[in-house]
Symmetry: C2
Amino acid sequence: MTDQALADLTRRLPELRLLTDAGDLEHYGRDWTRRWTPAPLAIALPASVEDVQGIVRWANEYKVAVVPSGGRTGLSGGAVAAHGELVLSLERMNRVLGFDAVDRTLTVQPGIALEAVHGAAREHGLIYPVDFAARGSCSIGGNIATNAGGIRVIRYGNTREWIAGLKVVAGNGELLDLNRGLIKNSSGYDLRQLMIGSEGTLGIVVEATLRLTDPPPPSQVMLLALPDMDALMQVFALFRRKLSLQAFEFFTDVALKHVLAHGAQRAIDGEHPYYVVTEFDAPDERAHEAALAAFEQGVKQGLINDGVMAQSDAQAAALWRLREGITESLAPHKPYKNDISVRVSAVPAFLHEIQALLTREYPHIEVVWFGHIGDGNLHINVLKPVSLSDADFITQCEHVTKLLAQTLQGHGGSISAEHGIGLVKRSYLESTRSLQEIALMRGVKQVFDPNGLLNPGKMFP
Amino acid sequence: MTDQALADLTRRLPELRLLTDAGDLEHYGRDWTRRWTPAPLAIALPASVEDVQGIVRWANEYKVAVVPSGGRTGLSGGAVAAHGELVLSLERMNRVLGFDAVDRTLTVQPGIALEAVHGAAREHGLIYPVDFAARGSCSIGGNIATNAGGIRVIRYGNTREWIAGLKVVAGNGELLDLNRGLIKNSSGYDLRQLMIGSEGTLGIVVEATLRLTDPPPPSQVMLLALPDMDALMQVFALFRRKLSLQAFEFFTDVALKHVLAHGAQRAIDGEHPYYVVTEFDAPDERAHEAALAAFEQGVKQGLINDGVMAQSDAQAAALWRLREGITESLAPHKPYKNDISVRVSAVPAFLHEIQALLTREYPHIEVVWFGHIGDGNLHINVLKPVSLSDADFITQCEHVTKLLAQTLQGHGGSISAEHGIGLVKRSYLESTRSLQEIALMRGVKQVFDPNGLLNPGKMFP
């Protein structure tokens, strides 16, 4: 039956590339999570919107589940295909379709890498400001599916703010052309906004029109060493008051240890429990002076132990590497990841509570923290001890995540700040969304995907 | 039956204020449109979230339609109650509930006026940047219902960008607490975004958490006189390149005539077909020089006839009045209003087409144009000749709007940029949204409001 279905698919869409080799099934059947064994039916690589529509119509006839697939850099299992689904990879649809200088928009196919978007914008003297470490591998379609955030949210907001239009193939194969690049459009429900962050469960993005903006003024990068956790938000408040921040990222001494072992260069001597990398506008001497004044005030108040200001682009990149290299440096330790957020004002109390929780629940396990503290977003990486089996490790981490979810609920936080729910967090969704909200979400899913074929099993508990 | 239903409502909710006097029914039964005869069942003025929930639950039992009502400054009939609906006025729920300095958010009840929000933000040294002429009367709940835009969109975006959290009573009376002020939250569909711009058809906003931001640097206001329509977008491009714009608004000589007759003061002598009021950052001498250089370049290129730069706050206010006073000055002429948008890049071609259309179709009728040209948003006001009956006038205008809708469709534009669809534009929705999109919207409506009691007859064709 499935052979016949695939044969029919190939017959209908002669331009479609279809892969069924074991190696391809494994490669395309998983994302950066490593918890599930890939087992897709086949991999379809369409090169046109019409072929994406054809695949979805075919899937409805044969009742085959479809997993939309971009760069598969996701950390929540949103692109995992472990149950005979058809993986619909958008990697062949990776072109820039157009640039408009008056609208200041770039229209792209969904499979284009974020870094290629950055490059295309720069060619026109503009920027696409959403940015994070996976830029070279992640696709813009995946960014939209998770409403990706990253390291510049404090200045530019999330992906959501930069989407002027979306073309989407809905669950019945119909093509929706949502908002078409308009700045103002108060004509019915904004389905574009509903699509953003829906993790491929409502439709498949086949084209996106991205807003671009002017490059920021020249900036300056600074690394700060802090004496304790309480200093973090105080230094943030101090720097936000005095400077125009582009980024404000923190990590711990444990994170530093890993990234240094992975080849990054130490920039501040001595032992300090917390570090901050911050980047801010520095168009003139005044901004430099303001940064120094903020730094000195922080030192005087005992909030900052030490610091270094980048003296060149190379040094700025080296300081950034201390933060951006963390994820890669942890990968060999098969980390279990939490990606959580609370309101910025709730961060101090929340940090204390979860530090106590993690110390208590992971007594013999290394826990690495870092994140976008200015957005209230924390990444917790729990490193698997070599002595523990994968299964036992996951069981223990899921137990702690349940407790963490309760703490989050108490603070009105979110179990997923920017990675999405996918498979990894669906059993914790109820800590962030009420039962009524989840019921409404199910209703919405039913409207867009009546046969429940788009990324089934993801997001919903 | 209805008497009994109202008696039951009063019995259930003793704190509720319920009005049934003819004067009240008329006052609360309409908005700034004047096309429908108000005929609500009664006016309910709740003072608490619980009472709003009680009203919606009661409405479901008695199958009474509910029209949510804010400042009723709407121009699309979204708050009109002409068919025995219960008007749910939020005017008693008009308080500031809280301010958070770290989150930089202001939490308010929905009935608060936009101007009061501005004031509350200013008390804390911050601004809520959405702004438009109806600020003194419109409510924040209504702003959210239409995703209100206004005169600062070019700099700050629409209302949507400034909503950090919403509490909403859904169609079954359940209270939803959407996003809770989080900056990053990738945990399921963003129902907050779906609510924004839904014109009271999916739920009733009972609380909003608004993001605030730093005040802009000192600004400068300039009035420009332009020789022709083609100059408009060229001057916009020139000024956008040289300055950091906060607003860029245009109007015609006909609009000027009306606002001058209404008491505004002439600022530029002579006859000119087009005018622009622009406001831009002017923190230092450099910005002033850049503005003068842009102006001189415009004059040299024949794009600008004349101009005046405000020399005081009072003069800046006087220049702004030339633009902001237009709507009020036209009111006695019972204008028929179109509020349309296209992509900014499509403006020049679109302007030519519709100028030809309006000249042809309204040969003996005065048409006043103005709008937010930097957002691609045009307001067209057609003034009723005294000799024409209201009904004949509307018939003629609706005929032209049909043609206008076709032209918009050709340019990928929107039949409502910022006023919403309401009653006025629902028969034109299909020019902006595809049949598939409208079917999905109906499906979503059904999920949130299964009995179809929230603002029925609005938005949908």
